[in-house]
Amino acid sequence: MNDAVLRALVPAVIGVLVRRGADFATAEDAVQDALVEAVRVWPDDPPRDPKGWLVTVAWHRFLDSARAESARRRREELVDGEPEPGPVSSADDTLRLYFLCAHPSLTPSSAVALTLRAVGGLTTRQIARAYLVPEATMAQRVSRAKRTVAAERLVRPGDVATVLRVLYLVFNEGYSGEVDLAAEAIRLTRQLATGIDHPEVAGLLALMLLHQARRAARTTPDGALVPLAEQDRGLWDTRLIAEGVGILQAALARDRLGEYQAQAAVAALHADAPTAEETDWPQIVEWYDELALLTESPVVRLNRAVAVGEADGPRVGLAALAELDETLPRYTAVAAHLHERDGDPALAARLYAEAAHKASSLAERDHLTRQAARLNQR
């Protein structure tokens, strides 16, 4: 039994405890204790029914944690009230947990921390390392998040969009720590997709798979960014691309377009091009038009300007860019690219240097600086 399989059981086990009457925070702690016990005991004595084993151990931990006299009385009532064994839908419990952990009352960072811990089954230490903050800081985030949702009832599923936003945040964090957050986000989204039939869940899963497929080609071994047009397409994971495209097509066929499906469609068109030159830019522009209708995001309009530049030439791209706010992140980088293609290397070099100055990531800054240096060599 590997770590991922073990972690996949976590939300269902918490869900069972909560349904039996445990409060969420204590249930979550009890399940973490049970996981530690499982790691210790299972190698020598593997259980026949891992989930049943975890439920039993976690339930006992939960009962143990109530020690005071008043808690003891409550415990006896809970034991009395324990439901009869019988079939229950564990998918249902898991789903409720997703919605609880992404509850709109939580800040984005708290929702992410709680989701990774309660749904993902990661330890606080692992989450802290992934986000490069002290373990005590992450522990506070998790416990505050638990306090915030303690008053929320595990009732009907809430807003799917909130859950998807949290999963996308996790995915975008990438992979700086010992836990690969992108892979973790994919795992959680897959699990969500098995329990909920929604085209946008499928759209997000497709989007993540299509980006993940290109991951090996996105950076050099020493960490430098490789732009899409220069990526070695032989490094793209064709299995993930095929899976992502398949999921996306099924979702699109249901004719309930949403932003993740539209973004995935753009990613699929990139993935589908045998060379950068053969990219279907006109169709990408159309998808960005759809996206602009679905979201207010200025980033979409910026990306659209890039696509327009490729589809209709740099002049038209620059005209589209001119309609946007110059203070947008990466605006200057896009302007530099379009001016270079328009045959003005001096202006492009200056803009690349300016864009490097404004870059928010080290790899992006180095990449833009190299672009400026390349043009200044001529």
Binding site: Y131, T137, Q140, N172, G174, S176, S360
Partner: protein, 135 residues
């Protein structure tokens, strides 16, 4: 979720509104100042936004390579007038606006006469890893 560095300067920053050297404060004013800073850090630990805080000694030295086989050159110990960092606090917050709010709060630490110092703090975002999705 972005990290910001709040930089406190001995010099190099614009002059504080309530600009009285610390050695001319009353002892209890210094205690109140220190307590304010500690309470601020504790509160950020509670909210899960604290990453690190350190104070630095007031004198820094510039050091430079001076060629093969030669000891490095220093400009010390009596440094020229230059930007001197007094210390830092590192926070991890949900937005730039939150970072500005917290920096403002830290800048209100009490100084002479128990009045807020209104000192200038430098707020610097960390360069991050590129996100998984940028195209």
């Amino acid at each position: 979720m972005a990290k910001y560095l709040l930089l406190k300067h001995y010099r190099g920053a614009p002059v504080a509104v309530n600009d009285v050297p610390m050695d001319r404060w009353a002892p209890e004013e210094i205690s109140a100042h220190v307590k304010y800073m500690n309470d601020f850090a504790d509160r950020l630990k509670e909210t899960g936004e604290f990453v690190d805080a350190q104070a630095l000694a007031p004198e820094g030295t510039f050091v430079r390579y001076d060629g093969e086989g030669r000891p490095p050159v220093t400009d010390g110990p009596f440094a020229e007038t230059k930007d001197l960092i007094a210390g830092w606090m590192l926070i991890d917050v949900d937005s730039y606006e939150r970072a500005v709010d917290l920096a403002g709060e830290l800048s209100a630490a009490p100084g002479a006469n128990g009045e807020p110092i209104h000192e200038w703090l430098e707020l610097r975002p960390f360069l991050t890893e590129p996100s998984t999705v940028t195209e």
